[in-house]
Symmetry: C2
Subunit: 692 residues, 2 copies
């Protein structure tokens, strides 16, 4: 995908129509109204002109020698394959298929989609869509409105992409109504060829795009997305939202995308891994994007507040409190400067309340002080526009300080935009992000801070343990091929191959050997029945714990032999580990992405409080430590009420070794280390399960 | 406070000014611009007229015989007391003091405030403010804009009140910008006389006010507020927000109100007790109010979704999922009707996606089906306005069904209001709540559902236990007067008086008696040192648990005698209660409100996970049960992992008895039952503390 799609010099419309309410007419109107800088070629077998532009009987007749950059297709699905052939012969570079009737309607449409896509590939044509809105580029040199929607953006620095035209349009309208421009807009519907990652990469390379806004309901090629997103997010802020988070939401998403109704947590983890700023609310996302488009990223979480009315600053401060931002005191010097220059009744400090009567020079002093304060990273302004002060002058000062780009400024502007038109204009043209609600403004500023946190988070390199025996583990898996669940011996041998510490264990074929094994291990021990036919060991009386001597072991094993009556019955004897903290560590394969790794405290913490965290492989030491500290019950690992803490370094190493294990052995579908018992100075896996 | 303030027939302005930028001029301009139906009397010793209206040298000269309804005072603070005297002589009913310079600036201003208030009381004048904006009444018969702000509302059904002028104005502007009218607006600044509860009561009685929006940073007279709010909230929805929720927020609030920097949870509990719908975000509050102003309250949480674009419905559904709303399937009959009448490619069900090409009659059919479905309580509509359908016709159908008021309708309208002016107008005039973001629309609908939950919640009557011995408890407290902490004997006797079950106990004066007491109780026992000088018993080695026989008790007590060396040392002997679940129950006096009652699981659940809930006395059985089920670890009370549940009815009774106890004995400042041990069929307090 190249500039030919987003910076087209020529656009033809196959299915151009004389009827005003037809998309094939609207696209031409939009190109004209938006002032497209290239050539427009309506294609219609019957019309001579459309909207005053000469029309051509067929694409072949279009007088464009170097090939046409973009062709819109607004014709019934069944005619698309042949039309693609024509485009191929004509040397067309990109086709935006606005028409529907393809994969989204079922197998019949899917077959047509496959058909035209094969033809397009033969000719090297890239397809955008089908069943899509198209693209918009507001670059003054281009002015391409290759789209049938109705929101005409001002040039700007935020670019938008989403498969869903509806949500892309919601976002686009929001920027328009906030008076903020858009750079590039791309909504690619079925996305049979050109993908979201490709678009994101293009936007990453587009210099005038300062912020990318992305909406997804799931990721088709998660691995590619992650790779591209990492690369692009390193260059500029990518703000994203994933819908279908909840069970009902996922069901709704699946009904309109034809996907599976499954709440996926992987997308959020991918966002995190890529350094994408994730949002759960589209309004918050759009409002944050406005701040990103013009403001620098703060270096920390300390906010200075300037207000000319009390209450809204309190609301903003609550939001800061919720988001972990700080409102530090000002230096003595800063306070002195303020006291000298603002009204004596003003409240000087952080917040500084200049009063409704506060003048432009007071705002300027307060902003200058905040910009100079070493302990302040960003500035939040509440600005109500009383009729008795020169609000234009205040706006000019705010715009001027904002343009210095020393620290971000976000403004809660409380005004009637119909009356205070000039004040609003000055702030808008000065690039000051303004919001009517204090909470909106505060959340936008908090998003800038969160972005700084994300980007300054260095997860480090993945530790590669070279003391592992990958070949041995692979051999065990190879031998187990065809089965779904590995035997205890297999599981423990794989753990041993990756030096994941387990409580000492032996296998025994019968009760007598079980006793012998127990003696070797040392008492007390646990005895577990092991046979392919026994899945729920403890439910079937196949587990006996805390056996204190050989007699107890032998009689427990004999008891199980009688009760379970399985031909392939063996016994798994393991050191019994009392005390310690129960922990659960797990892994689950994610198509194309590696594995999800899970960590949590065992028992009620997992079952009742659902207190678990996830990450994607590979997990670095930093990330493993972050997992430990992210659970709500994290203080329990450190030790509370006089208890000693557990060996966190051992848990961190176990997480990293498990990450390496499942990465080396992608055949593993699910793996549970449950429980892992963590003591003050060591960690033992005492039960484990592997599914392939 | 009567109609004379909110429906004035005459308004005089003391401090009326010829200078355009003076508040004393602006108030007159606002009254004129807004079309005030009564008389306006500028008072200015030097001017003959102001803004074309005859001015008077003094209030005494104003030709109003029956007394003036409202006087604005826009004069320096020091002149206010004398001016109040003049008003008294003139028979003025209400004074809105816009000027500042009173309590908010410190002791000097506070003295002036006290002075003029005494004078006003003498004459029976009510004071609104000082340091306030004033009131607005948009009633077409009144049109009173007694306020110096700039937002001119359309007549409407939402009324707004807040001390904070800044936040009241934010809310007011929001309604104005959403194209929704306001009924009455009242921002009373320092509120030295007319209070928020008085205003709320007036709004409750005002028939045209359908929804009351309230913002507070704390409550001054919480008991009166609760009483009034209960009464008013029973008549119409009261939507409220309390700022200063967070530690930093509380600090910011205290800096501009001069209050204490303390995070108060009581206000939220008062809202709950009064049946007020509480919000944490002012935008969400305003958007919800728009839905309340025109839509009926749904009877349940089941939403029907109609859309003409997929993605936004997914976003809305996520919000519904978060808020506990359901998206039930439609009946076969409903589905059949839809299939007959909408496009064959449309997705029929819940959500029903009519496609962007969906017509007005399709929307109508879908709405009619949803209105008829017994399993649907409310309807959510996503409506994007494509150019190729008659969106005005769709809007007309939505407005018509909305007017039926069978079930609430909330609409996510995705459009450009500059282009689709007629569509927007039809929806607005039809009273359809429309929001640009799907999440906003969904949250507004969810607020209607939450309101139904709150209003249909019947907390029942307070149980009054008549087996308690209030007199005995009072006598103990009387005897303890002057001390802060009660002795163990006193605490246990008070518990006994209120039949709160405690583990069997005795007091003993020395080691020998301790042994004797232990034998009476039965082993094992706990021995605790009890002396006024010993606060942290366990830290000082004053606690010995699980003593199995008389020897152990005697030697433990002797040991303590030696170690603690306190003259007033006694021993508290109690049955040792192993096993069971540790629970914490507490009470804390709240000025003017009774007590906060706390409940939580003990140990790490309180200390690490902060998993506690609060309520205000008196606590009914329903509320006590709700407290038990509201903690995150609630399943532990029911029993998990094969454990049996605890005696919840016993805990519920303990909460109710404690509620009665602290209500009967208001001298109790703090009371902790910690821990209470809950077993399968009984509950025992094993340690308790009372501070007076």
């Amino acid at each position: 995908m190249s500039d030919s799609l987003f910076r087209p010099k020529s656009v033809a419309v196959i299915g151009a129509s004389s009827k005003e309410l037809h998309i094939g007419n609207r696209v031409i109107k939009n190109l004209l109204d938006f002032g497209f800088k290239g050539s427009i070629y309506p294609v219609n077998p019957k019309a001579d002109e459309i909207r005053g532009i000469k029309a051509y009987k067929s694409i072949m007749e279009v007088p464009e020698k170097d090939g046409i950059d973009v062709v819109h297709m607004v014709i019934p699905a069944k005619f698309v394959p042949a039309a693609v052939d024509d485009c191929g012969k004509k040397g067309v570079k990109n086709i935006i298929i606005n028409s529907g009737g393809f994969k989204e309607i079922g197998p019949k449409g899917e077959a047509i989609e496959k058909d035209f896509l094969e033809r397009a590939k033969k000719y090297g044509i890239r397809i955008f869509g089908p069943n899509c809105q198209g693209i918009i580029n507001s670059d003054p040199d281009i002015r391409a409105y290759c789209n049938f929607t109705f929101t005409k953006p001002d040039p700007g620095h935020i670019s938008i992409t989403a498969l869903s035209g509806g949500v892309a349009e919601v976002i686009h309208q929001a920027f328009s109504q906030m008076g903020v421009g858009t750079r590039i807009y791309a909504s690619n519907g079925n996305a049979c060829d050109i993908t979201i990652p490709e678009i994101v990469r293009y936007l990453g390379d587009d210099e005038e795009t300062r912020t990318i806004v992305l909406y997804v309901e799931g990721l088709r090629d998660a691995a590619t997305f992650l790779e591209v997103a990492k690369e692009v997010a390193a260059k500029k802020p990518v703000l994203a939202m994933k819908a279908g988070r909840t069970e009902v939401g996922a069901k709704a998403a699946s009904s309109h995308t034809g996907g599976l109704a499954e709440v996926d947590i992987a997308t959020e983890l991918i966002f995190k891994k890529a350094g994408i700023l994730s949002f759960r609310d589209e309004a918050e996302l759009c409002q944050a994007a406005v701040a990103f488009a013009s403001q620098p990223i703060p270096k920390g979480n300390r906010v200075g507040i300037i207000t000319n009315t009390g209450g809204p600053a309190v609301i903003a401060t609550d939001v800061f409190g919720d988001k972990g931002l700080e409102i530090p005191s000002l230096s003595d010097r800063g306070i002195e400067t303020l006291k000298e220059k603002v009204f004596p009744e003003a409240a000087v400090g952080n917040p500084t309340d200049l009063l409704a009567t506060g003048l432009a020079e007071h705002y300027r002093t307060a902003m200058d002080v905040m910009m100079d304060e070493e302990t302040i990273d960003s500035v939040f302004i509440n600005f109500v526009t009383p009729f008795f002060v020169d609000t234009d002058a205040i706006a000019r000062e705010i715009a001027e300080v904002s343009k210095q780009k020393r620290k971000p400024i976000v403004c809660n502007l409380m005004t009637d935009p119909q009356q205070w038109t000039e004040t609003v204009r000055i702030l808008k043209e000065g690039g000051v992000p303004c919001f009517g609600f204090p909470g909106e403004a505060a959340r936008s500023l908090a998003a800038l801070v969160r972005y700084n946190d994300i980007r300054s988070r260095d997860i480090g390199e993945v530790t590669i343990y070279d003391d592992v025996d990958k070949a041995r583990a692979e051999a065990i898996l190879e031998k187990a091929r065809g089965r779904e669940i590995l035997s205890a011996t297999e599981v423990y041998e794989i753990l041993a191959a990756y030096k994941i510490t387990v409580a000492d264990w032996r296998m025994a074929d019968n009760a007598q050997e079980a006793e012998k094994a127990a003696v070797e291990i040392g008492f007390p021990v646990v005895v577990k029945a092991d046979a392919e036919s026994i899945v729920h060991k403890s439910d079937m009386g196949g587990v006996a714990v805390n056996l204190a001597d050989g007699d107890a072991v032998r009689s427990a094993a004999e008891e199980m032999e009688k009760r379970l009556n399985a031909d392939d019955l063996k016994f798994f004897i393991q050191k019994y580990m009392p005390g310690g903290k129960e922990v659960i560590i797990g892994a689950k394969a994610e198509e194309g992405l590696g594995h999800l790794i899970m960590f949590g405290l065992g028992g009620i913490y997992v079952e009742v409080l659902k207190d678990v965290v996830f990450n994607l492989t590979p997990v670095t030491k930093y990330e493993a430590e972050e997992m430990l500290s992210s659970i709500k019950a994290a203080p329990l690992l450190k030790g509370v009420r006089g208890e000693k803490g557990v060996y966190e370094a051992g848990l961190v190493e176990t997480l990293q070794r498990l990450s390496q294990l499942v990465t080396d052995l992608p055949a593993i579908q699910e793996m549970d280390l449950n429980p892992v018992i963590a003591y003050e100075d060591n960690v033992f896996v005492v039960d484990a399960r592997i599914a392939i």
